[in-house]
Amino acid sequence: MSGTHEHDDDHGHHHKETFITKYIFSMDHKMIAKQYLITGLIMGFIGIAMSLLFRMQLAWPGESFPLFEAVLGKWAPGGVMDADVYLALVTMHGTIMVFFVLTAGLSGTFSNLLIPLQIGARDMASGLLNMISYWLFFTSAVIMVCSLFVESGPAAAGWTIYPPLSALPMAQSGSGAGMTLWLVSMAIFIASSLLGSLNYIVTVINLRTKGMSMTRLPLTTWALFVTAIIGVVSFPVLLSAALLLIMDRSFGTSFFLSDIFIQGEVLHYQGGSPVLYEHLFWFLGHPEVYIVILPAMGIVSDVMATNARKPIFGYRAMIMSIIAIAFLSTIVWGHHMFISGMNPFLGSVFTFTTLLIAIPSAVKAFNWITTIWKGNLQMNVSMLFSIGFVSTFITGGLTGIILGDSTLDINVHDTYFVVAHFHLVMGISALYGLLAGVYHWFPKMFGRMMNKNLGYVHFWITAICAYGVFFPMHFVGMAGVPRRYYENTAFPMFDELTDVNILITVFALIAGATQLVFVGNFIYSIFYGKKAEQNPWNATTLEWTTPVEHIHGNWPGAIPEVHRWAYDYSKTNENGEYVLPGQDFVPQVVPLQDGEEELTH
C-alpha cells in the first residue's frame, strides 16, 4: 500500500525561507507541532495556576491572601476571593485544561509531529489547512484568555456551561460578555479541531509509505487516527449546541429555555429544554474525554514497548480496544445525565453501554502490564510517566464502575467523588501521556535531549502529589460535598473536612511548583540540552530514521520502505540470537532476514 508522492526525490533545492514562513506561518508539520505544544503548555500554565488559586480558597476559606489581590484585583477585595470569581476560576480551569491543553496541546502536537513521520510521509496531506488549523486554535486561545479580562468577568457557569445559567446575564455576572467570548472562542476552536482532524484522517489513509499497512502502524498513529475520527463525529454537535446557545442569548430564541422567572420578571422564553442542551453537550463531552485519553494511550503503548525492549503485548487487541472504546464513547453520553430529568429507562441503557466500555479499558490495562513483564526496562523519564499513566488510569478508571452505574451515581453525582475520578482517569493520566510524549520525542522536536535528572525529580514528586491530591478527594465526595462550592462552611456536617482539604491543597501546591522544574528543563534543553543522536532510545519506528536536523520533506532522498511491524524488540532467531546481531531491535525499514519469520500478530 503506497501513496503517490508527487515530489518524491526532488529535495535538492529549497525555497528560500524567511523568518515568517519558517517560524510563524509555517506549513511544515514539525514546526506546527512545536507551535501547538508551546501554545498548549502556556495554556496549561494558566489553567494549573487557576486551580492552585481555588484550591487555596477551599483549604483556607475566606482567608485573605495578598496573592489573590495581586492576581485577581477587584475580584478579591482585601485579598479575600469573591464567590463569583471562584466559579469563574473553576470554569476556566476546566475549559482550558480539557480543550486547550489536553485536546489541542496533546493531540494537536503529536498528531502533527508523529503522523507524517511514523507513516512515512513528506508532510500532512494539506500543509495549508494544517497551518490554518493552528492559527484558528491560536486565535481561539487568545480570545479565551482575553475573556479573563472583561469587566463582568469570564464565563462562570462550569465548563459544561449549562443553560439557563449560561444563557442569562442576570443569573450570573459571568454570563455576560465573558460567556459570549467563551462561545466565540469555542466555535473557532471547533473549526480548528475539524480542519486538523480531517487532515490527520486523510493523511493516515492516503499517505502511508510502501509496506506500511494498517496493521503495521505504530499504536500512537492508530490512536491519533481514531481520535481524529471521534473528533469529526462529535465536535460538530458541540458547535451546534454553541450556536443554538448563542441564538438563545442574543437573538431571543428558546431552544434551551422555558418558563423562567428571574429578578422579579417573567422572561418570554417558552418551549425549550435545558435537557436538550445537556444531550448535545455530552454527545461531544463524553467522546471528548476519549479524545483526550486515546492519544495518551497510544503514546504510552509505544513508549512502553520501546523502553521495555519488548513488543507491545496483544497488538491487535490494542487496536481493537481503541476502536471499541471509540465506538462505545459515542453512545454513553447519557451517564452524565442520570438524574437530569431524563427518562429513567434511558438511564438503564446508558448504564449498560457505559459499563461495557470498562471491558476494552481493562484489556488495555492488562496488556500494558504484560508488556513490562519479563522486559528489560529502561527507566527513561518517558517510561516512568508511562508506568505512572497505567497506575493512575487504573485507579481513576475503577471508580468509573461506581459512577457509570445509574443507581450508585444518584448519591455521588456532582460531588468531589466525580472530581477525583475524572482527574485521575483523564486529567492526570492524559497529562502523563503528554509528558511521556514530550520527554520521548523531545530529541525529535528540538534535536537535543532533556535533562534526565530533572525529569526524574519532576516525575517522582508529581506522581506522589497526584495521588496525594486525588486519593483523599474520593472521601470528600463520599461525605456528600458537592463540587463547585465556594466554601463548605455553610454546612456544619462538612466542618471536619477542612483537614482533608488542607492536605489536598498542600499536595496541589507542591505539584504545581514541581511543574516549574519541567518548564525550566524544557526551555533550558531547547537551547543548551545535550545534542541528540538520531535514534537515542533505540526505537524501531520510522520517525527515528529521519535526520536530527529538520528538513522540509523529512527524509533526504527516497522515503524508506517498511518491511515489518513496529515492535520487533528483542526478537530472536531460533538459535536465541538477536535477529540483527548485537542489536536488540529491528527498525521497520529493515527487510526480513534470512530464515526470519514474520509473525502474524
Partner: protein
C-alpha cells in the same frame, strides 16, 4: 504570616528539588553525561517504583483509617440500604482489582528493571490470556449491571401505590421552598408566569385550580417517618439539583419541566441523632466549633444534627449556601406541625405574607 510561610515552603521545595537532582547526579558515578537511562538509573528508579507501590498502599490505608469517619452515616431511607450494599460490593471489587493490578504493575517495574546484556522476552500475544482477561470483566460487570439496573428500576419507579405524600420542591436562586399537596394530596397547577409576588403567590399557583387552595407552602421540609414521599421538583430560573445525601436521593430541578423522585424515610431526625456514628460526628464538629468560638471566629455556634437538602448543580454566586432543613418525625408530630401551617387558599384570602 501566611506569606512568609508560603515563601519558606517554596524555598524549601526548591532546595529539596535541587538536592534531589544532585543525588540523582551523584548516584551516576561520574559516568559520561548521558541523557538516556543507565543501569544505575534503572536500578534507582526500579527501587523507587517498589517504594511507590508501598506509598499507594500507604495512602490507601491512611485515607481509610483517617477519613472513613467523614463518610455519610447509614442511610435514612428505605431504598438506601440496597444502595449502600451495592456500593459496598462495588467498592470491594474495586479495591481487590486495584490492589492486585497496582502490585503487578509496580512489582514488574521493579523486578524487570533493565540491565546491560539482559534479554527481554519476545512475547507478542497469547490469545488464551487475552480471552481470560476479557471474559472476567465481562462476567463481573454483567453481575454489577444486572444488580444496578434492578435497583435503579425500583428506585425510579415513581407511582401512587401505598398512598404517598406528595410534595413539591421548588428551587430558585438561592433558596428552596416546599409545597405540600394538602388535604386532597393533589398539587394545584402552577407556572412561573402566574407568580404574583405582591399577592404572595410566590410559586405561581393557578388560583382558579381548586386543587391548589389547600396546598401548603413552607420553608422547612417536614416528613412523617415510614410514609413514602413523592417529590415533584420545579425550578424558576436556572438548573438546580435537589440533593438529599442522607436519603441517597438526588434529582435535578429543571426550568420548564417537572422532575420526580420518591423515597420513604425510615429514621426520624431524633433517632438519627442517637446513632453512634452521628453522635461522634457531631462531637468532632462541635470540638472544631468550640475552638473557633474561643478564637472569636464567626460561624461557630454548636451544631445539632439535621438532615439537609443541598443544591448540587452550579446555580450562581450563592450556590454554596442554598439549603433547606429536613425534619423527619413521627406521624403525630407531623400532623401537629402541618395543622399549624396555613393553606394557600387561606393565605390568599387573608393576605398574610409568607415569612
Amino acid at each position: 504570616m501566611i506569606t512568609v510561610l508560603t515563601i519558606t515552603v517554596l524555598v524549601l521545595i526548591a532546595i529539596a528539588i535541587w538536592q534531589m537532582t544532585k543525588i540523582f547526579e551523584l548516584s551516576q558515578l561520574r559516568a559520561a553525561k548521558n541523557e538516556t537511562a543507565t543501569d544505575n538509573d534503572n536500578k534507582v528508579n526500579g527501587y523507587l517504583m517498589f517504594a511507590f507501590l508501598v506509598f499507594i498502599y500507604g495512602i490507601t490505608i491512611f485515607s481509610f483509617y483517617k477519613y472513613t469517619k467523614v463518610l455519610l452515616p447509614e442511610s435514612a431511607s428505605a431504598h438506601g440500604a440496597e444502595y449502600d450494599s451495592l456500593m459496598f460490593v462495588s467498592m470491594l471489587i474495586i479495591f481487590f482489582v486495584q490492589t492486585i493490578t497496582q502490585f503487578l504493575l509496580h512489582y514488574f517495574a521493579y523486578k524487570y528493571r533493565g540491565e546491560k546484556g539482559k534479554k527481554a522476552l519476545f512475547y507478542a500475544d497469547n490469545h488464551k490470556l487475552e480471552f481470560i482477561w476479557t471474559i472476567i470483566p465481562v462476567i463481573v460487570l454483567a453481575g454489577l449491571i444486572l444488580w444496578g439496573l434492578y435497583t435503579w428500576t425500583n428506585i425510579m419507579d415513581i407511582n401512587d401505590e401505598d398512598d404517598p405524600l406528595v410534595v413539591e420542591l421548588y428551587a430558585q436562586q438561592f433558596n428552596w421552598t416546599a409545597r405540600y399537596a394538602g388535604e386532597d394530596n393533589v398539587l394545584g397547577d402552577a407556572n412561573v408566569r402566574m407568580i404574583d409576588i405582591d399577592n404572595t403567590n410566590i410559586l405561581g399557583l393557578d388560583e382558579s385550580d381548586p386543587n391548589g387552595a389547600d396546598d401548603i407552602i413552607v420553608k422547612e421540609l417536614h416528613l412523617p417517618v415510614g410514609r413514602k414521599v413523592n417529590f415533584h421538583m420545579r425550578s424558576q430560573d436556572v438548573l438546580h439539583s435537589a440533593y438529599m445525601p442522607h436519603f441517597r436521593a438526588q434529582m435535578n430541578c429543571v426550568p420548564g419541566m417537572i422532575t420526580q423522585f420518591s423515597f420513604t424515610p425510615i429514621k426520624t431526625t431524633a433517632e438519627m441523632r442517637q446513632d453512634p456514628d452521628v453522635i461522634d460526628k457531631v462531637k468532632r464538629a462541635n470540638k472544631i466549633r468550640a475552638a473557633k468560638a474561643a478564637a472569636g471566629e464567626p460561624n461557630s455556634d454548636p451544631w445539632e444534627y439535621d438532615y439537609i437538602l443541598l443544591c448540587n448543580k452550579i446555580c450562581g454566586k450563592s450556590h454554596y449556601n442554598m439549603q433547606m432543613k429536613i425534619i423527619v418525625e413521627t406521624q403525630e408530630e407531623y400532623d401537629k406541625w402541618i395543622a399549624s401551617q396555613k393553606t394557600f387558599g387561606g393565605e390568599a384570602a387573608t393576605g398574610v405574607a409568607i415569612k
